[in-house]
Subunit: 260 residues, 2 copies
Amino acid sequence: MRWANIEYNGEQSYGIIEGDQVALVKGGLFDGGEGTGKTAPLADVKLLVPVTPKTFYAAGLNYVEHVLESAKSAGREPNIPDKPDIGYRANNALIAHNEAIIKPSDSTELFQYEGELVAIIGTQTKHISEEDALSCVFGYTIGNDVSERTWQRGDRTFWRGKNADTFKPMGPWIETDVDLDSLETTVRLNGRDVITFPTNNMLFGVARYISAMSRYLTLYPGDVIWMGTEGQSENMKPGDVCEVEITGIGVLSNPIVAEA
Amino acid sequence: MRWANIEYNGEQSYGIIEGDQVALVKGGLFDGGEGTGKTAPLADVKLLVPVTPKTFYAAGLNYVEHVLESAKSAGREPNIPDKPDIGYRANNALIAHNEAIIKPSDSTELFQYEGELVAIIGTQTKHISEEDALSCVFGYTIGNDVSERTWQRGDRTFWRGKNADTFKPMGPWIETDVDLDSLETTVRLNGRDVITFPTNNMLFGVARYISAMSRYLTLYPGDVIWMGTEGQSENMKPGDVCEVEITGIGVLSNPIVAEA
């Protein structure tokens, strides 16, 4: 089932996508999805950020090649994580499918995409085993962890490098029926494939992260966990369009625009 | 004016504290504070976390002695920040005044308080000058940035070390009339003063942080900025009570309890 957060005729609602139509539902994402009997053509709705999390989690370094390439670019020895230490991103930076990624006027050319799987929590959870962990996941969407590499390396935190406004496109919708092992992620820059990788080829998978996190913290409905990316990224510049596709979920597409 | 988020007779509302009474108001913290005509005795209400932020910001290293002492404890050279790089904490960890800080069963004895001033944003803000920055602040409260130092040093992020459930007491209420330069912070462990410092003796003050942040990110009503702490902390153990007092704001008090 494919859930979307939409604006239609000036009003926000959740809806379930059925072919080229969206069946509008009552209430929020976790209220059961009771239908209103109304539908809207998918082509006529504006897709919004699927959910604003209470806490915005991000795995960071979670694919081997990305760890190696990141270390090489930064001129330091690679350090493969030996346990799932979750990190954070910031809600101010979230934008929806098709919204513009604004490149700050003082950012460098090292302005890059990172295509990521995003798990969305559906059930309040603490102390869950790895075996049972996926039962608290509502569904999956796609994220683009936009990063300015000079700020990422030079600042004490990731505040500018990864969390400036518009740096966290997420969408286009939430897919609840997902076979993690069958997924493939492809990033396209202006229609050209720049990387394709098996989505689930992670150092620590979704279940391992959730189980480890839940030992110390409570996960809440709507919390999101961005699962990291693979390989090395290319630079994006104003005028470009960056797409992240994950098979079985969809395509997240965003244009890059220069800050005025 | 002193705003509190309260539970009274099983219902949540905001209220304005007047002496030993709370005047209940309609709506949220930023809705104007229209009175309901009802009051409740302050002694009979449960104080809740004053606000749950959209983004939870934290300055981290922002007082000279704390930077020096932290480096010394960790056995490395001190690195005084030369610019206000804001960091983050996580909403799952928030608890209210008088609620228990739960010490995880596998945490070490290096389980410590950090008494902090907290600025609460009242107005959506981007691109604000340092001169005008305090105009977007709604008021101030108090935070205790509880930290498990072995996890803080050994994990790749601050997820366990600073963001385990209950590690972020915040309260007891929000004071809107504050003269930053006159404030003094005192931390007490079981009634004994362990540190007193001028609250505003920061490397980068509230206005400087807000102005720098707003160059790249939008601040939203309810966002909180924890401003860091001074000096070196002592260990807390189950059975202890930790109080953080900031003159003119109030006292945030929390017992420490062992994880079951």
